[in-house]
Amino acid sequence: MPLEVLDASPLTTIQDLGRFGYQRFGVPASGAMDAFALRAANELVGNKQSEAGIEIGLSDASFVASDPCLIAVTGAGFELRVNDRPMNLWTTIYARKGWEIKILKTSEVLGAWAYLGIGGGVTVKEVLGSRSTYLRGRFGGFEGRALEAGDVIPIRESSLNIERAGRTLPQDKRPHYEEKMIEIILGPQDDHFAHETIQIFLSSEYEITPTSDRMGYRLHGSPLTHRGSPDIISDGLARGAIQIPANGQPILMMSDHATTGGYPKIAAVVSADIPIVAQRLFVGAGLAPAQRGQPQNRQPQGLPLRFRQTPIESAQERYRVMMMNLKRIVEPEENFYFS
């Protein structure tokens, strides 16, 4: 049951939860920027959470299915139209053969990534055990590149459980994408910064600059000065780690981050908040179609980030609760209408 791409933003790629086991060879983990949203899209269409889906980044994409199927679109900042009718996000939708699935970037304030889950899952060839796309390495996903109009994406045949249609993950079970405070764990190189500098880090507002991408979000705010050298002997990196290079502006590691690096890390964002940080709009990015053609000085103003320290135990507990929410999908209300 292939899915055809009608149109895709330059940051539309196939992703699963990531490529694990090869970081010691320099291969980034890649995977969905908002892994919770991908897992939810999979749950809604009856897939295992680890199935590959389509990540749509920063602007619109549209697809058409060659057979009837179940789909779900999750994420933040987007709207969904199926066969030209507006449909809810975070909801299982029954799409008939030939119906156009349009995923539109509409919010100027919040959101960067949408996830299209399809019943059966995307079945492009695995590379090093994963279907995630590593753009810089040009491998994985669909021929190692972003999707383009005309691409035909293989989908696994699966039974169509039409009674699933209309199920939804309630709002209160989704991440609080509008939350401004992001929780972090200090270290490992927090001792490279004076106490006062750490206080600046924990009390400043940071915005995500346009030079951000799937490797990392470059933040801008009050610069953070180092106690001594701005370099360290290269050590390991993880998603969520916040490096501070010589210019004092933080770089937040995201899905395609390099596996090792030589800048001190002041802190790392906790697992439960990675989806929230991922969905922060880049300043200047993701203009909705209605805004294109307007004067260039009209920049979308995304919500800034602020960082708050938290004990590891609470962070891990929050993450467990968040992951359990994925099982709290509810049946459709009686008046839910689909055709």
Partner: protein, 215 residues
Amino acid sequence: MPSATRYQPLGDSALNIPFGDQIDPEINQRVHAFADLIQHEPLNGIGECVPTYCSLLVHYDPLQLSYQEIIEWLKAKSEITNYQLPVPSSRLIEIPTRYDGEDLEFVTQHNHLSIEEVIRIHSETEYRVYMMGFTPGFAYMGKLDSKIVTPRLDSPRQLVKAGSVGIAGEQAGIYPIDSPGGWRLIGRTEVKLFDLDRDPPFLFAPNDRVKFVPV
């Protein structure tokens, strides 16, 4: 067994374990030995280990393992004194190298040596892969003989071709793919460091031994 003195959280799903604070073969050996010990009989929830110059990053799944649990387990592992690294503990990989790099002249002048001497010194040393990173298949090798240590470029080249053999400070390396780069280029190899059509795709692994062979 190497005493890992501290366990530093990197967020809530990774731990950094430092073994020292300089680029040194003995410190690096302890990193590899501990990585090996952890992966020998890993606890459920332990993910991959990434060895670097003087520390080890251990990824774990906080849904299966709490911070306390992983610390306790690692402490117990670090007390094991009779663990033998599997033999052979590392492979020797030879890299046929044509010494005709753009910066070879600079390296000779910087170190007051002839081209023949630079080639001899570079190729006589047996290097260790301290760690891999930067790009898939890129191996950080060391240590360069002090007689040919040369600082990297002031600003990187826009394009360094795949297969370029370079040096930077005390490190030796080979660029696996075309990329920008700041290392001093002294030669080239046809060998592919990263090839998805090959099994295994990576030529090097952490802790391998390497020699460059002039051709």
